[in-house]
Amino acid sequence: MASSIRVRATSNGDTTEVQALIQHPMDSGFVKDAKGEIIPPHFIQQLTFEYDGKPVFVADWGGGVSKDPYVKFAFKGGKKGDDLKVSWVDNKGATDTTTAKIQ
């Protein structure tokens, strides 16, 4: 199965800008479906970006983050061709991990 995570990390020599798009329903637990039944909460709780074995960005999310979440940040350092590890875990314990090359 294709990864749920799409990452683009670009270095300008000084800082690395990271954009990530994840496929996830991000159900808050407050929305009802067509039959009027509540859709149970199902959302990513923690999304971690690691570079060189250290976390460079950690997102703690609730059900208020939009479906198929998007996040953008930047960190100092990061060389072209180096790996950036991205992983998430949701409230049902599901996880996904991917590794992106910094461009």
Binding site: S28, K32, Q45, P55, A59, W61, G64, G77
Partner: protein, 164 residues
Amino acid sequence: MNITTSEFSTTRRLVLKCAGVAALIGLGVIPFDVPQALAAANDKYPEEAFKQKNEADAIKALYGKTAEPSDKIKMDAPEIAENGAVVPISATTTLPDVTTISFLVSENPISLVASYKIPAGTVPSVANRIKMAKTSNVTVIVEAGGKLYSAKKEIKVTVGGCGG
């Protein structure tokens, strides 16, 4: 002889009792240390803060202190969001030593939307997309140098993101 024995046993009982009380106090102290230990564990998911319904309780559960308004936080968000399910919001700050940036929507059923940890070396600027139930104030909290700073903006929502 008998009297002395009973006296001895009373003292012994007292000693045991005291030891028991001391042990209880000892146990009682441990739960006080737990929240601190949890706060120290930096990568722990703040489950409690994401259960709080209103904004003040969420900030309290997340940080345990209150924020002061700051003009050094720049929030980039639309005045009017046509679709409450996807509201693009970004925040940037010029404050030094930023450790976390959090987003809260006061009118959402759960106020806290996202909290980002910013380790040293990461630029204190985040863009994300959030859901908004209705027109509401959006608050950005920045933790910098152990203090909390906030910025607020009202975003009008024409179609809510939490309705069926």
